[in-house]
């Protein structure tokens, strides 16, 4: 439906208002406060939804304040391409007319037709309420101040639902479904808490089973202990019964008494053995004492005999040693004599050898004197010649350098002369016979060389003046100077000419050579100097003079020396022999002294022993001692035999066996007595304990508990299954509902999304699947309840949702214009601009009427603006 024209007369505060030429898209109707723009909406509603015959409060509300008039509303609208005219008058002369599409209705038929056309439910009586009676217009026509509230879909729900069904072809489970879901939830909550843990009976059942199992384990343990005790009791009873049956204790007592008796009999034999052992011991000691005494006597006798023998042998040895000493003394004396002789001979041989050696030395000295004399003479001569030559060398002043200087000067003179000669005029004279030529009055040869102006006088001719040119004058002067330099050098050295200089230098070299030659000769002859040679000569001369000369040959001397050495060796041998002899004598002497001592000691001992023996024999003679030994031996033997007999008697009685038997018998008696006592006590204790346990009927309790656990386990299994089922049922229902709901509301989401994007990216509106009221706004994945949003946000979201729903309705063939009466008053400027985009987008497909008192806000909207 699109509104094209609205005319209102006498409706509340509106006198007469006509708004026409309403366009397809956005239409802005501006009215100041109190101008009645909200009344315009009320008039629209009245025309479409109020029965023209309505009375009471609804009719009164249409009257201007304190007046009674005839309010009238006329509408022109377009629906499915057809133009319709609706006209209603209220309160007085009520009237209704509807025409269009070739149809015409009046009176109540108008209202029925309208209800059919727009699918609303007219109020049966009285006024209408938008949410109950206005169908989709209750949703799309928004009164001032209501825009931020819930949509208030009300009667529009069915239109929406059918519109949505058209798209998805499925409906929700309805009231019944929700009832089942809530029943399932309640049932699940019986079993499970919010965290998904068992609760209530389900939980306590599991807990009880656990407790019962624990208790059962305890009781089983007790039962096991009980059985153990019963077994033990049976064991004790058996043992006690056996003791009683066998009269065990009495038998053991008798056995112990018999063993004690047997053991007492053995004790007497033991005493006898001890006495016999004691007397045998005493006899043994006495016998040993007599034997010891006898042995002492025999030893004394034997010692004396031995000492006498030793004394005799010592004496014999001493005598023998004495003889030996005498013999050795004689031998030593002979050796001393021999040695004396040898000393004499050695001395003679040495003297002879020395004499021969001296003679030989003298002869050699004489020979040396002769040789040294000649040698000295030659050396002195050579030395003289050397000294002379040395004097010559030392006297010479001319040196090789001097000669070199002279020779240089001489070469200068020669060069100057040669240069002059070359420059001079050579004149060859070939005089006619006899004729001569002169210069300066002196005749000249056939050839002349002239270096200066000369006047040559030729005989027969006259004079010829000759003038050499080319600097001969200079050359001649240089030649003169060189000649003078040479002359002066020669004069300075005292030499006549340069040849003399050379001769003098040669003489010096010769003298130097001689010095060297003679020096070498002297060194050869007198290596230590001439004076030393001279001294040697004097020494030899003195040596040669002493003693007379003797003809001694070196061979003689060698023989004499050998003889001397031999004699000396003999002498040493004799000395050694004499030392050895004397040592032997000394040793013999010491041995003799030792033997002397030994003889003396032996004799002293013999005397002492003899005295001792005599004294002992005076007390008891040897025979007496022998008899005593024999007597004690016999006594000892008798005592031994007595002891052996006692021992044999005791062993025969087997005392150990008797003792063991007694001990065993007594111990057995004690043990069995104690055992019986102990068993008795234990038996009474066990019986008391078992009585206590039996009173409570442990076995009964145990069996009962086992049965209960079995039953409870079965119950738990079934309850667990129920719990699982309850959970599954709820989950399945809830999942199914959510999925259905998602599908159901998907179209709303899709339609609202393009508008939402204009004000808020990444957001989503969630509607209640049944009521279609806005439940949540999801922004960036965070869900916020609608009621928690700001007023501005709420009105924006609500407007967008209405637009989206209007889209859905339009697409379902239920086109209806949207009327917004100051619907965005809480929206800030920035958002308002965005909302204008939303409205502009909505207006592309949808007629939108905006009633506002704020013209300025909507100037930019680009929509026609009408003022009331």
């Amino acid at each position: 439906m699109k509104l094209r024209r609205i005319e209102v007369k006498d409706f509340r505060k509106l006198g007469h208002v006509v708004i026409d030429d309403l366009g397809d898209g956005l239409n802005v109707i501006v009215g100041d406060n109190e101008a009645g723009k909200s009344t315009l909406l009320a008039a629209l509603r009245a025309a479409l939804f109020e029965r023209h015959r309505v009375g009471g409060a609804a009719a009164a509300a249409m009257q201007p304040y304190n007046q009674s008039v005839r309010p009238e509303v006329a509408l022109e609208f377009e629906r499915d391409g057809a133009i319709w005219n609706l006209r209603k008058a209220f309160c007085q002369r009520q009237e209704a007319q509807l025409s269009g599409n070739g149809e015409r209705y009046t009176g109540d038929a108008v209202e029925d037709k309208l209800a059919e056309m727009f699918g609303f439910t007219p109020s049966s009586s009285g006024g209408t309420k938008p949410q109950e009676h206005h169908g989709v217009f209750g949703l799309l026509w928004v009164e001032q101040g209501m825009s931020h509230r819930q949509l208030g879909i009300g009667a529009g729900r069915n239109h929406l639902a059918s519109a949505l069904e058209r798209e998805i072809g499925q409906v929700t489970g309805g009231e019944r479904g929700r009832a089942l879901l809530s029943a399932a939830e309640a049932r699940r909550d019986q079993f499970w808490d919010k965290r998904g843990n068992p609760r209530g009976d389900f939980k306590s059942l599991a807990g009880k089973i656990e407790d019962d199992r624990q208790q059962l384990a305890d009781m089983n343990r007790q039962m096991a202990e009980h059985d153990e005790r019963v077994n033990r009791l049976a064991g004790i009873q058996n043992i006690l019964a056996r003791y009683q049956r066998d009269d065990t204790l009495e038998v053991l007592r008798k056995r112990a008494a018999a063993a004690r008796e047997a053991f007492a009999a053995v004790s007497g034999l033991e005493e006898a053995l001890r006495a016999a052992e004691s007397s045998a011991e005493r006899a043994k000691l006495r016998h040993e004492a007599s034997v010891a005494r006898n042995a002492t006597r025999q030893k004394l006798i034997a010692d004396l005999a031995a000492d006498l023998g030793a004394s005799e042998s010592a004496r014999l040895a001493r005598e023998e040693a004495s003889a030996t000493l005498a013999r050795l003394d004689a031998v030593a004396a002979q050796a001393a004599t021999r040695l004396d002789k040898m000393v004499e001979a050695e001395r003679a041989a040495t003297a002879r050898l020395r004499g021969m050696e001296q003679a030989l030395a003298r002869r050699q000295a004489a020979q040396a004197v002769a040789r040294l004399t000649g040698q000295l003479k030659l050396a002195e001569e050579a030395d003289e010649a050397r000294r002379k030559a040395l004097a010559l060398v030392q006297g010479a002043t001319l040196t090789a350098e001097d000669l070199a200087a002279l020779e240089k000067l001489e070469r200068g003179v020669e060069q100057a002369r040669m240069r002059l000669e070359a420059a001079s005029v050579r004149i060859t004279l070939h005089p006619s016979a006899g004729q001569a030529a002169q210069v300066g009055g002196k005749p000249v040869g056939a050839e002349l060389s002239l270096s200066r102006d000369t006047t040559l006088v030729l005989e027969g001719f006259g004079e010829i003046g000759i003038h050499p040119g080319g600097g001969t004058e200079e050359l001649a002067r240089a030649a003169d100077q060189s000649a003078q330099a040479l002359e002066s050098a020669l004069r300075r050295l005292g030499l006549a000419d340069i040849a003399a200089a050379r001769a003098a230098l040669r003489q010096q070299d010769t003298a130097r050579a001689e010095v060297k030659t003679h020096g070498a000769t002297v060194a050869a002859l007198a290596p230590n100097g001439i004076e030393a040679l001279r001294q040697e000569l004097v020494r030899n001369a003195l040596l040669a003079e002493g003693g007379e000369a003797q003809a001694v040959e070196p061979a003689d001397i060698e023989a004499a020396r050998r003889a001397s050495v031999e004699i000396e060796a003999q002498l040493r041998g004799a000395e050694v022999e004499l030392r050895e002899r004397r040592n032997a004598v000394e040793a013999a002497r010491r041995e003799l002294a030792v033997l002397d001592e030994r003889v003396s000691v032996a004799e002293t001992r013999c005397a002492r022993l003899r005295e001792e023996l005599a004294s002992a024999r005076a007390t008891a003679d040897d025979r007496l001692l022998d008899e005593e030994v024999e007597r004690e031996r016999q006594a000892f033997q008798a005592a031994n035999e007595a002891r052996d007999a006692a021992r044999a008697a005791l062993a025969g009685a087997d005392p150990e066996a008797k003792q063991i038997a007694l001990k065993q018998a007594e111990q057995s008696e004690r043990e069995i007595e104690a055992d019986i006592r102990r068993l008795d006590v234990e038996k009474r204790e066990i019986e008391a304990a078992l009585r206590a346990l039996g009173k409570d009927g442990l076995g009964e309790q145990l069996a009962l508990l086992e049965g209960q656990i079995t039953a409870a386990e079965a119950k738990l299994k079934s309850v667990a299954l129920e719990a699982e089922a309850a959970k599954l049922l709820h989950t399945t229902l809830a999942d199914a509902q959510r999925e259905t709901k998602d599908r159901w509301l998907a179209p709303v989401r899709e339609r609202s999304a393009p508008y939402l994007r204009l004000i808020q990216a990444d957001s989503d509106i969630v509607l209640h699947d049944e009521t279609f009221e806005i439940e949540q706004l999801v922004r960036n994945g965070v869900a916020e309840p609608f009621g928690a949003l700001s007023v501005g946000a709420r009105e924006q979201i609500a407007v967008i949702t209405r637009i989206a729903l209007a889209d859905i309705l339009r697409e379902a063939g239920q086109e209806a214009c949207i009327v917004l009466d100051d619907a965005l008053v809480n929206t800030d400027e920035a958002r308002l601009e965005r909302m204008h985009l939303v409205l502009g987008k909505a207006a592309q497909n949808q007629q939108v009427l905006i009633l506002t008192c704020r013209e300025r806000d909507f100037l930019q909207l680009g929509a026609p603006i009408r003022r009331m």
Binding site: G177, A183, N231, A725, T732, A736
Partner: protein, 374 residues
């Protein structure tokens, strides 16, 4: 010279029935003693010479003192001799229910046959040969001494033993406490009174189990009787009358529902309607039924549960098979339908670990639905 006696066994007094909770279990416990009172009255009424209890009079050696004392009280209506043989449950151990009973100073007519010794009396008409168990399990035959036990000429020899008879009771697979099946013959017994098997049964010539007088388990074995035995002489054939004394009847019922309804199960229970309060019923259900039927079954079972003394239902083999009607009843559209379809698929898929839970969930949803979602 005839001898008449009452043969009973396996009272198992003190048996706790722990798996049956609440009053029902407690009543089963106390009934075992009450039934012994009946037995005592029967013995008195039939004027028997003695009552022979062939073992397991008590469930264990560790029953409460109170249990022993109340049992002794229950015996009072019969003042003749009660001959108690220790069985495997109440073996004559060093400390046992019998040693405790002796200390309580029982009446003189209470005889505890805990030794293999002849029990004589009755003017020499009869002699009892007991084979008590002094251990819970005896590997040696305790009745062997019967063969060589000398008795007075003309006395009727009656054996009293507890255990299984070799080669005869495969159900009692225990190799211990075995009694040869020809013992009555070899020992010249006129009657061998046995205990252990809970049903009344002649197991071999002159060899009888009396069974327990008060049934204590679901087993199809003729339990709940005592034997009144009359012996006219040492070699005369025994005359045995099995007298029912059990208060409670135990039933094991299995119903398979093949037609999609729960009728089979309910019909089976209906057959037990008479004397319902005395019945202890174990019902095993199998098959598949619709959710509607399952709902109905639940209501009916609850009724029976209250009428029977105890009803134990094993429905592990029962599967809900939601029909289209079930599903339509739940919801024909919307998310409920989706959820039902999913649960149904899960329930049908045995490989799904939650198949069982899914079946129960379907049932729950149906119940919720039937309860109006509350």
């Amino acid at each position: 010279m005839a001898f008449r006696f009452l043969h009973t066994a396996d009272w198992q007094i003190g048996k706790p029935f722990g798996s049956i909770p609440g009053d029902a279990g407690a009543e089963l416990r106390s009934q075992r003693i009450a039934t012994i009172g009946e037995v005592a009255r029967l013995a008195a009424a039939r004027n028997v010479d003695a009552v022979l209890v062939a073992g397991d009079a008590f469930d264990s050696n560790e029953v409460q003192d109170r249990t022993i004392l109340r049992t002794l009280d229950a015996l009072k209506p019969f003042s003749g001799r009660w001959i108690f043989l220790p069985g495997n449950h109440d073996a004559a151990l060093a400390h046992s229910v019998w040693s405790r009973l002796r200390q309580m100073g029982p009446e003189e007519n209470i005889v505890i046959a805990d030794r293999p010794q002849l029990i004589e009396g009755w003017d020499g008409r009869a002699v009892i040969l007991p084979a008590p168990l002094t251990r819970r399990r005896e590997s040696l035959d305790q009745t062997e001494w019967f063969d060589t036990a000398a008795t007075a000429e003309g006395a009727i020899r009656i054996g009293l033993a507890h255990g299984s008879v070799a080669n005869r009771l495969p159900g009692a697979a225990e190799a211990s406490n075995e009694i040869p099946d020809n013992r009555a013959t070899t020992a010249g017994l006129a009657y061998l009174a046995l205990g252990d098997w809970h049903g009344s049964l002649q197991i071999a010539p002159r060899t009888w189990y009396s069974g327990t007088p008060e049934t204590d388990r679901h087993r199809a074995n003729r339990s709940g009787f005592v034997h009144i035995v009359e012996l006219d002489g040492p070699d005369a054939p025994e005359r045995v009358e099995a007298v029912p004394v059990s208060h409670y009847r135990w039933h094991q019922v299995e119903a398979e529902m093949l037609d999609g309804t729960c009728n089979a199960g309910l019909d089976a229970l209906a057959e037990l309607e008479a004397d319902a309060a005395r019945r202890v019923v174990s019902l095993t259900l199998k098959g598949g039924i619709s959710l509607a039927e399952r709902y109905q079954l639940g209501i009916e079972l609850e009724k029976w549960r209250n009428r029977f003394h105890h009803l134990d239902v094993d429905d592990a083999g029962l599967f809900e098979e939601p029909t289209d009607d079930d599903l339509d009843a739940l919801d024909s559209s919307g998310f409920v339908r989706l959820a039902v379809e999913r649960l149904k698929a899960q329930a049908a898929n045995n490989a799904d670990p939650q198949a069982a839970a899914a079946r129960v969930a379907l049932r729950m949803m149906y119940v919720d639905h039937m309860n109006g979602g509350r």
